[in-house]
Point group: C2
Chain length 416, copies 2
Amino acid sequence: MKTTIIVIGDELLIGQVTDTNSGMIARLMAPHGWEVEQVMTVADDREAIREAVGRALDSTPVVLTTGGLGPTKDDITKAVLTDIFGGELREDPDVLANVREVVERRGLKLNDLTAAQAIVPTSCRVIQNRVGTAPLMWFERTDGHILVAMPGVPFETREMFSSAVMPMLLQRFPSPDHIEHRTLVLADISESALATRLAPWESALPPYAHLAYLPKPGVVRLRIDGRHTDAGFLKKEIDRLADELALLAAGNLMCRGDITPARCLLDMLVERHLTVGTAESCTGGNIAHTITAEPGSSAAMLGGVVSYSNDVKRRLLEVSEASLEAHGAVSIPVVKEMASGARKALGCDIALATSGIAGPGGAVPGKPVGTVCIAVATPWGLWADTFHFPGNRERVIDRATTTAIIRAIRELQSHP
Amino acid sequence: MKTTIIVIGDELLIGQVTDTNSGMIARLMAPHGWEVEQVMTVADDREAIREAVGRALDSTPVVLTTGGLGPTKDDITKAVLTDIFGGELREDPDVLANVREVVERRGLKLNDLTAAQAIVPTSCRVIQNRVGTAPLMWFERTDGHILVAMPGVPFETREMFSSAVMPMLLQRFPSPDHIEHRTLVLADISESALATRLAPWESALPPYAHLAYLPKPGVVRLRIDGRHTDAGFLKKEIDRLADELALLAAGNLMCRGDITPARCLLDMLVERHLTVGTAESCTGGNIAHTITAEPGSSAAMLGGVVSYSNDVKRRLLEVSEASLEAHGAVSIPVVKEMASGARKALGCDIALATSGIAGPGGAVPGKPVGTVCIAVATPWGLWADTFHFPGNRERVIDRATTTAIIRAIRELQSHP
């Protein structure tokens, strides 16, 4: 089923808030084979909303709006929807009771502004918002096209869309098709090189399967999407295709499943009862942050040292003065000593270390901005290499972080 | 000047990637008085792109597209633009030379797919992409409406939009007005409390000045935008208004200028010849990362310890077993010892420390998810407090990071 999402709010158009609702809704719909055909972001403006809603209802059978339902004067969505679908704005006693309950649960008193949330178009079917004050509204046009107006607060949208709106939509538009997805994460290959390698396989895919390329800095994710009326057949087929793809990916396969490199590393470490730590110079704590951003990371992550100054490299990681003097901080000998020193200082099995020049300053002859030495120390060895990453400071830090994590995964893969 | 942004890519509609380009472009255009009227997100689909581009060009004089320019077969934007603006697709030797240079700078070899980036519509004026392989394309319709096609990689879009596209747009649509901005960053006050305090002042602003509220978690930025034909008059007036506003902001003023809290902290430290370091548990390296993300941070930042495990807290920060046992890791005594320990271990003047429960797991009775103890150790004292941040793991880490940095700024402000 094809849908249009209309994101309403001035704050989005001035770049003050980033829309995450449309992506979240798309991800929640995808397993049911529902697709977002278009997302439109419009201002809190009567004409802009009316125009977008009209166009969306003409082009897709289902339209979802988020935002524009707050009690402040900017929010005029309800009035526009009443114009479009007819009826009039009237206070709904059930909604008022719900708004009061939500407000009081937050330890607050109901004021006039918030009570106005209970005024809804008589032409809609109300879906009570259990986690916020703005009621959801289900409209149906005479041609059977549906519009559901939802609040803009991401947590409310997610909660109400998954628990109420999606089930109602599936009941209203039942489908004979089942859906399957398999994701593989690859490293050390560009999207274009991969596309060349996979072209013959991809063009021979059966009509019920599709391959999507999802590149991110440092990795390429490949997703096989399948769609068929026979659930058992589809599952077997998509599994078979994923296995084929894994063989074709060969040496570039990092992990199966739609997960980040950090999650992949953590899962491998936990499975093998190994611990990890970091010694970061140019990445400045970003590797530790990326690993600890994953829930449950404390099962393998012990900690790290951000050795930004040479003094801290000596103090906490026992990097030798001799190596610093002979080779400079951005060198293979120093980054190796950092990794070994981190294993000892932190008491971890695996240590990731970086030393480089993130820029814009700091470049020296032979070591331009983007030069990053990375080391991975393990109980079975000490790997290190020098990389040259393109881009500005942020991107160099980002790429060095991803690369260090991928190198650690590679070290684990090469020593099963 | 009103613009429409068209964001192109299947990956956005399935929620695999979140569009941050449109907000970034809006923020970069705002200082020049340019507005985004609508954002449309469409698939890598010939008809969808053609329809969106046509509609956008009819409704605003400037249309910007991002994405859809990759070398894989999904990316068909160039063909659609050739259909719309005429001409034909042809290899441009200058673009090919640029693509080759960018590829070789990355230490890679040019393959056929990437070389295809050099095939561009003869109807466009090419803007060479200095930081990526997809050339930017400037089209002009017979009615003078402009479309600029830009790559989707956020770093490339930002770099090329700010350095090339925006200057070209300003030249193409010159304005008699001069523009001035002054930004103030405030902390420890909510947007609504601030709005109440500033209401009388704001309503008395002259017609050529406007006040914008730009709240971010933990801080509120206030920006005075001025616009006038007389550059000298405007500069003086906007300076005067900014001084007035700084007086009204009083105790909540953190810094002047559109800078991050980390930049503000670093500037204060460098000015006072002080050094800084971190000791992070729940923020897992994010404070160090946030500080070192700023160019030139090594002038004040010595390093940090990510003491995720209690063992690392003891080993590297000399946190006492007694405190850990009596109060637990998430406690004022422990976070104070972490901060003091970091000053000693790293040899820095100021140390920021955090210990908390970022979730989703780890809550204990009396210490729910979101509980974070923060300490700042200085040569003149040791400050600490406990905070309760709302939201998921990512948000708790983020808020704790910003709060710790703001507390350090406060400590510096209170001891001039």
